[in-house]
């Protein structure tokens, strides 16, 4: 049997004394795309942070891509995780092309692959525009271009549909399709229930930090 890509058991996270996640269970199998829905402040983004190995849980156990959460083992798998947060990870003073090329060089990918990904998300004509003077939607597309370029085994999208038009939604479809084909997995947070239902295999609902 193939091991799950994500397996969380009784995961709890506190920020100071405030509990943000309480006893969350989640299993994502290879090839599966899971949506996360819930009201504001319910812990969706924190859950994504835990799965991205960036937030260390205070309780519970979990494995992501085979690495045990809360251990140094996660360093080994981080390169296989792609995260697009609701605030795009771009350098405002660099152009859109420079942003992607920087990522490519750090990750050891060719510059040509970066330029190709930029064209794939429809930003070739705006390549020389500073990211800081580009719209939020364009910045989000850079995040998506990064996913196309690096092909992570675990795709994490926070507020996946915020600030994106119909064309960009097609890009998300492509990323998810390729991820499924690679037997990777994805976890998508969105407030747009209709769009989310169309793109995922099942929806996990979170309320007050717990799965319901």
């Amino acid at each position: 049997m193939t091991d799950p890509i994500v397996q969380l058991r009784d995961i709890g996270v506190r920020f100071g004394t405030v509990p943000v996640l309480v006893a969350v269970d989640l299993t994502i199998a290879p090839g599966e795309v899971v949506g996360v829905a819930g009201p504001n402040g319910s812990g969706k983004t924190t859950l994504l942070g835990v799965v991205a190995t960036l937030i260390r849980p205070n309780s519970g156990t979990g494995r992501v891509l085979g690495a045990a959460l809360g251990t140094d083992d996660v360093r080994r798998v981080r390169r296989r995780i792609g995260l697009s947060g609701h605030e795009p990870a771009v350098y405002p003073d660099l152009t859109l092309a420079e942003n992607l090329r920087f990522v490519a060089r750090i990750a050891g990918v060719t510059v040509e692959a970066a330029d190709r990904a930029l064209a794939d998300v429809g930003l070739a004509a705006a390549a020389d525009r500073p990211a800081g003077r580009s719209s939020h939607g364009m910045q989000r597309r850079i995040d998506l271009a990064r996913m196309l370029m690096l092909e992570p085994d675990l795709v994490l999208l926070d507020e996946a549909h915020a600030g994106l038009d119909q064309d960009a939604e097609v890009i998300i479809d492509v990323i998810l399709e390729r991820t499924r084909r690679r037997r990777g997995a994805a976890l998508i947070v969105s407030h747009d229930a209709e769009r989310l239902a169309r793109q995922v295999d099942r929806v996990l609902r979170i309320e007050a930090g717990a799965t319901v």
């Binding site: 991205a52 960036l54 937030i55 260390r56 360093r75 981080r78 390169r79 995780i81 792609g82 995260l83 947060g85 605030e87 795009p88 990870a89 771009v90 350098y91 003073d93 660099l94 420079e98 920087f102 990522v103 060089r105 750090i106 990750a107 050891g108 500073p130 690096l150």
Partner: protein, 224 residues
């Protein structure tokens, strides 16, 4: 080129590119540093011997204060999404420290080189017999300040009190650097050897680099 050095050089290149576009160093720190050099001759009686005596102290003071400002510049601050991106890209935290130090070092060397002719012009100090001997001291001094700025910046990332806290952390640790560099200049002027002061600079830089390497991973975890 190894993956480590490729990553470090990319980080340094990115920092310099961002700084070049934002112009915080060239547009703000450098002009005010030059102005600070000019203030003392304006505010004193203009006695040539007094100014000549003040040349070195003013130079070290201005390079320390404005150098730290350069090392802690706003354009070197990374947001949480940027830090998270680098972590997930598998960027070696030590390579990141080296890259950021390298870019700050280049800027600090630039600041030093701009200030030297200004100090010579306004203060007319006694000529140094062998000025080339000062080059290693200046390079080591700038390297120490660059590492100190990078460390202090990373230790205070995300804190609201960053602007006040970072210089407070860095200032005491800069003392051996200023001492090593300034005493090197005095020794050269007197025709004495500078081995002791060079060793002090090397030892301080080594201690700072060890601190940078040791704290790189824990700081990476806390910043995300």
């Amino acid at each position: 080129m190894s993956s480590f050095w490729r990553q470090a050089l990319q980080v340094a290149k990115r920092d310099l590119l961002v700084e070049g576009r934002a112009g915080e160093g060239v547009g703000i720190v450098l002009p005010f540093g030059a102005l600070a050099v000019f203030v003392v001759p304006l505010a004193t009686s203009g006695s040539a011997s007094l100014l000549a005596d003040l040349a070195a102290p003013v130079y070290w003071l201005v390079t320390l204060l404005f150098g730290m400002q350069l090392a802690l510049r706003q354009t070197a601050t990374e947001t949480v999404p940027q830090r998270r991106l680098l972590v997930l890209l598998g960027l070696d935290p030590v390579a990141r420290f080296v890259g950021r130090t390298l870019s700050a070092w280049v800027l600090l060397i630039g600041l030093q080189l701009v200030l030297i002719p200004l100090v010579v012009l306004f203060y007319e100090p006694e000529p140094v017999p062998t000025p080339a001997l000062m080059l290693p001291a200046l390079a080591l001094y700038a390297l120490g300040l660059a590492m100190l700025g990078t460390l202090a910046g990373d230790l205070t990332v995300g804190l609201r009190t960053r602007t006040a806290l970072a210089p407070m952390l860095a200032a005491p640790l800069a003392v051996p650097l200023v001492m090593g560099a300034s005493q090197s200049l005095i020794s050269i002027s007197r025709g004495e050897g500078i081995l002791t002061w060079t060793l002090l600079l090397v030892a301080t830089d080594l201690a700072l680099s060890v601190a940078g390497v040791v704290t790189a991973r824990p700081l990476e975890e806390t910043a995300t």
